[in-house]
C-alpha cells in the first residue's frame, strides 16, 4: 500500500492526476468525435452519391484500421502536416504539437466514425411521419431539427453512445505510446521505477474498471431521463 501513498513517497497523487488526464482526453476526444459526427452524419444521409461516398470512406477506413496505426499516423505525421500548412503562410520554424492535442484528435477521429454510425442509425429509425408532420406544420429547418428530430434521436442513440464512450475511454490507453502521462503511461513509469509491474498494471486495470463502472451509472441515469414518456 505504501506504493499508493500521496506525496513524495508514493504514486497515489501521480496516479490520481493521471486518471484525471485519462478522463480529460476521453471527454475531449468524444466531443471532437461528436463534431465529426455532426459533419458526416448529414453526408451519410444525403441523397448525393458523392457526399455519401466521402462519409462512407471515412467510417469504413477508420473502423477497419487499428487505432494504434491511426495514432502513429498522427504522432509522426501531425507536426509535419501542421508545419506544411504553416509554411504556406510563411512560417518556417519547427512546430511541436502537444501530445494531448494529437492524442485527443486521433482518438476523436476514431470515436467520430462510431458516433456517425450511431447517429445515422438513430435518425433512420425515427418514424417518417415525424419528418412529414414537421414539414406540413411549416416548421423552420433549425426548429425542425433541434425540437423534433434531436430529442427523439438522442433517446434512441444514448444506449449505443454509451458503447462509443466505453470504446473511447479504453482507446485512450493507446495514447500512452506518444508519451502523454495518462493512467497507462503513469503506471509504466511507476512500474519501471519500483520494479513492481504486476501491482501497478493491476491497479491501472482497477482504475479503468472504476471509470467504466461510474460512467455506466451516469449514462443509465441519462437514459432514464431521455426516455421519459416512453
Amino acid at each position: 500500500m505504501e506504493f499508493l501513498a500521496f506525496g513524495k513517497t508514493g504514486w497515489g497523487d501521480e496516479l490520481f492526476i493521471a486518471t484525471l488526464m485519462t478522463l480529460a482526453v476521453s471527454i475531449t476526444a468524444i466531443l471532437i468525435g461528436f463534431l465529426f459526427a455532426l459533419i458526416f452524419t448529414p453526408l451519410k444521409l444525403s441523397k448525393n452519391k458523392f457526399l455519401n461516398l466521402i462519409a462512407n470512406c471515412y467510417t469504413t477506413v477508420i473502423r477497419g484500421v487499428p487505432e494504434l496505426l491511426v495514432i502513429y499516423l498522427f504522432f509522426f505525421g501531425g507536426s509535419g502536416a501542421v508545419m506544411f500548412v504553416a509554411s504556406i503562410f510563411g512560417y518556417n520554424d519547427y512546430i511541436e504539437i502537444n501530445a494531448f492535442i494529437t492524442g485527443s484528435f486521433a482518438i476523436g477521429i476514431i470515436s467520430g466514425a462510431y458516433s456517425t454510425e450511431v447517429f445515422r442509425g438513430a435518425i433512420q429509425s425515427i418514424d417518417k411521419g415525424q419528418f412529414e408532420a414537421s414539414k406540413v406544420l411549416g416548421l423552420k429547418k433549425p426548429i425542425h431539427f433541434f425540437k423534433v428530430i434531436m430529442p427523439q434521436m438522442l433517446r434512441l442513440a444514448i444506449p449505443n453512445l454509451s458503447n462509443v464512450w466505453q470504446i473511447t475511454l479504453k482507446d485512450t490507453s493507446l495514447i500512452s505510446v506518444t508519451g502523454l502521462v495518462e493512467i497507462m503511461r503513469q503506471s509504466y513509469i511507476a512500474a519501471g521505477s519500483t520494479r513492481d509491474p504486476l501491482f501497478f498494471y493491476s491497479f491501472a486495470a482497477v482504475l479503468y474498471l472504476l471509470l467504466t463502472f461510474l460512467s455506466m451509472k451516469f449514462i443509465n441515469r441519462l437514459e432514464i431521463k431521455y426516455s421519459k414518456g416512453y
Binding site: 484500421v65 494504434l68 479504453k170 493507446l174 509491474p197 504486476l198 491501472a204 474498471l209
Partner: protein, 218 residues
C-alpha cells in the same frame, strides 16, 4: 512506398497467425464461459460474469502489460512450466488476446442462447430427446447462427486488437509499419500501405461472414 510493401506483407503473416490462434482459443473459452453464464449455480454464474466484466471493462493494452510485464515478477510462475510460454512475447500476446476475445465471445453466445425460443427446447423435451442432445443438436446450432453477425464484428475488432502486439516488441503489421515510419519518416505513405492491408483483411472477413450467414440462414 513500394519498397516497404514486401516487409509489410511479411509482417501481415504474423498478424494473421496471432489472429487465428487467439480466435480459436478465444472461441473455446467463449463457449465454455457462455455455458457457465447460463448455468443456474450462482457461484459458477458470478465467476463467468466477473471474467467477462473484467476483460470487457479494461483496455486490451492493460491486459497485455499485466501478462507480459506483470506475471514474470512472480517467483512461482518463473519456476513453473508456464514460464516457457510467459517469457515469450508471442505467447503472452496470444494469451491476452484469447482471454479478451473469449470474454466478448461469451457475451455474444450468451445473448444468442437467451434468444432461443423456449418452445424449441420444450418441443425437444416432449419428444423425449435427452437434454444433452437437445443442447448439442438444437441449442448450439441455433446459437451459432444467431451470433454470426456479432461474431463477425468481434473478429474484425480482434484483427485491430492484434496491432497491440507491437507494444510488447512483436513485429506484426503495425510494429513494422511503426518501424518504417520512424526510420524513413514517411508516415502518410506507410499508413496508406499498412492501412490498406488491414482494410483488405477486414473486407475479406466481412464477406466471409456474410457468406456463412447466407449459407446457414433459415
Amino acid at each position: 512506398m513500394i519498397s516497404s510493401f514486401p516487409k509489410l506483407l511479411n509482417a501481415t503473416l504474423i498478424t494473421l497467425k496471432l489472429l487465428s490462434v487467439s480466435l480459436v482459443v478465444g472461441l473455446i473459452l467463449g463457449i465454455l464461459f457462455s455455458i457457465m453464464r447460463i448455468n443456474k449455480n450462482p457461484i459458477i454464474n458470478k465467476f463467468a460474469y466477473g471474467y467477462s466484466y473484467f476483460f470487457r471493462g479494461t483496455p486490451l493494452l492493460v491486459q497485455i502489460f499485466i501478462i507480459y510485464f506483470g506475471l514474470g515478477q512472480l517467483e512461482f510462475i518463473r519456476s513453473s512450466f508456464l514460464w516457457i510460454f510467459l517469457k515469450e512475447p508471442y505467447w503472452c500476446a496470444i494469451i491476452a488476446f484469447s482471454l479478451n476475445t473469449g470474454a466478448y465471445t461469451s457475451e455474444i453466445l450468451r445473448s444468442a442462447f437467451e434468444t432461443i425460443k423456449p418452445g424449441l427446447i420444450e418441443a425437444g423435451k416432449s419428444l423425449g430427446i435427452q437434454s444433452k442432445i437437445i443442447f448439442f443438436k438444437i441449442q448450439i446450432p441455433i446459437a451459432i447462427r444467431q451470433s454470426l453477425p456479432a461474431y463477425g464484428n468481434e473478429i474484425i475488432l480482434m484483427l485491430k486488437g492484434t496491432s497491440l502486439a507491437s507494444t510488447v516488441t512483436l513485429m506484426d503489421l503495425t510494429g513494422v509499419a511503426k518501424y518504417i515510419i520512424s526510420t524513413t519518416f514517411k508516415p502518410i505513405e506507410v499508413f496508406i500501405v499498412a492501412g490498406g492491408i488491414y482494410l483488405f483483411l477486414t473486407f475479406l472477413i466481412h464477406n466471409f461472414i456474410k457468406f456463412l450467414e447466407k449459407k446457414y440462414s433459415f
